[in-house]
């Protein structure tokens, strides 16, 4: 069983006796059994050295770094173990051919928007009146079928998200006053939460891509490799509603996160350390939540759904089976 580790304290992560050890500045320490590690999130200020990196590389362990304010700063993506030249060539072909690229990009957005609609329906069934918002998104989804340019698809996606975000004021029973998405820097609670949680989803997807032959920089919806591993951005779109946003609603509605969870600095809001921990714990257990997969006829975790998404994309690229994006089925 491989697990994700979250290091929240400041200190040092080292290799010792062919194992990992964290020494925190407060004097405490923890041994991390190497055989149980899938990836490590470094949330505090942690020293690492190249000896450690080599060791992590041998064990195919990814590191994700976040800065003092809780913003994602980058990942250590070890040398890939699974590489397929012939798949890479075909992955590139699916980017180069406009038709093929649009087909994949569209399917990504269709499943992402389906999952958004599913979130709205969930709350509609629980006493929020979201019929109008659902109708709007239904109509916009139909537009996706008609667009044949990436930027047009992106435009429709923007409209879907806009309608979705407006509904948040009804879904969340705190006064969130959420108008629009602002990123640099996040100006209110929701934007700050979204930035943090989206980067968690993005990094989880990246870790799953690492365990397949897909190349993380060649994407279809997003433009390849503008700063990030853009295939991760593509796939994250599909899982943000279920892994991220549903969790945000629940955290806010259970009052586990509220105004007190943030710190104001200049004109932006940051999550306090304690709040980050609450979110991480919730996120971690969400990834481990299991669901009966109707096709595979076995239980799989939410996290594994991402891996399966990678497999479906591989099969599409190899020309075996047309890609059908993940849609919440329960």
């Amino acid at each position: 069983m491989k697990n994700t580790y979250y290091l929240l304290k400041n200190g040092e992560l080292r290799r010792k006796d062919n194992n990992l050890i964290v020494k925190a500045c407060d004097g405490s320490e923890k041994v991390i059994p190497i055989e149980t590690v899938k990836e490590i999130y470094i949330m505090g200020e942690v020293n690492v050295n190249s000896k450690l990196m080599t060791f992590l590389s041998q064990n195919s362990i990814i590191l994700h770094f976040f800065n003092y304010y809780g913003f994602y700063s980058g990942s250590y993506y070890p040398k890939e173990k699974l590489v397929s030249g012939s798949l890479l060539v075909k992955q590139v072909e699916h980017y180069r051919s406009k038709e093929k690229r649009v087909e994949l990009a569209r399917e990504v957005l269709k499943s992402a928007s389906y999952n958004i609609k599913r979130n709205l329906r969930y709350y509609n069934e629980r006493g929020r009146d979201l019929e109008d918002e659902i109708k709007t998104i239904k109509n916009l989804r139909k537009h996706l079928d008609r667009q044949n340019e990436i930027n047009e698809l992106m435009g429709v996606e923007g409209n879907i998200r806009e309608g979705y975000y407006r509904a948040w004021n009804k879904i969340v029973n705190q006064d969130i006053n959420f108008e629009k998405r602002v990123k640099h820097p996040p100006d209110n609670m929701i934007n700050s939460l979204l930035s943090y949680v989206n980067s968690l989803v993005y990094t989880t997807v990246l870790s799953e891509i690492y365990h397949t032959q897909l190349n993380p920089t060649i994407s279809f919806l997003h433009e390849p490799s503008t700063k990030r591993f853009s295939l991760s951005l593509d796939i994250a779109e599909i899982f943000k509603p279920i892994l991220g946003e549903r969790m945000i609603f629940s955290l806010l509605n259970k009052n586990m996160i509220n105004e007190d969870s943030f710190e104001k600095e200049m004109n932006s809001l940051y999550l306090k350390d304690s709040a980050r921990k609450v979110i991480l714990q919730k996120y971690d257990s969400r990834l481990k939540q299991r669901i009966r997969h109707k096709v595979l006829k076995k239980n799989v975790s939410y996290r594994y759904l991402i891996r399966l998404e990678c497999y479906k994309i591989i099969k599409h690229i190899l020309g075996e089976k047309n890609y059908e994006g993940f849609k919440i089925w329960w």
């Binding site: 979250y6 964290v22 041994v31 055989e35 714990q281």
Partner: protein, 93 residues
């Protein structure tokens, strides 16, 4: 599978010391050291086989004893702390 492993290594000689050191180091790669000679953690069946093979290299069948308690799931195991509570098995630090 959720596993609790306990060991008893006979310290009759320098060899005993060496066995003890290696058993401890090997277990530490797979599980959390929760008390003296006691480890605990979630392992797959394959990891258990691997752990066993690694330990087999060192333990003396006539002197050293290793016992593992296996449970299909951590949920089926009630754990209570009497006295000092220490969450060594957490994936948060």
């Amino acid at each position: 599978m959720y596993v609790i492993l306990v060991y008893d290594v006979k310290l009759d000689s320098a060899i005993g010391q060496k066995v003890l050191r290696n058993v401890y180091k090997i277990c530490k790669k797979y599980m959390y050291h929760i008390q003296n000679s006691t480890f605990e953690g979630e392992l797959s069946r394959a990891q258990i086989v691997k752990l066993r093979y690694e330990l087999d290299e060192y333990i003396r069948k006539d002197k050293d004893s290793i016992i593992i308690f296996k449970s299909r799931n951590e949920r089926w195991l009630d754990k209570e702390f009497w006295g000092l509570e220490d969450d060594k098995t957490s994936n948060f630090f």
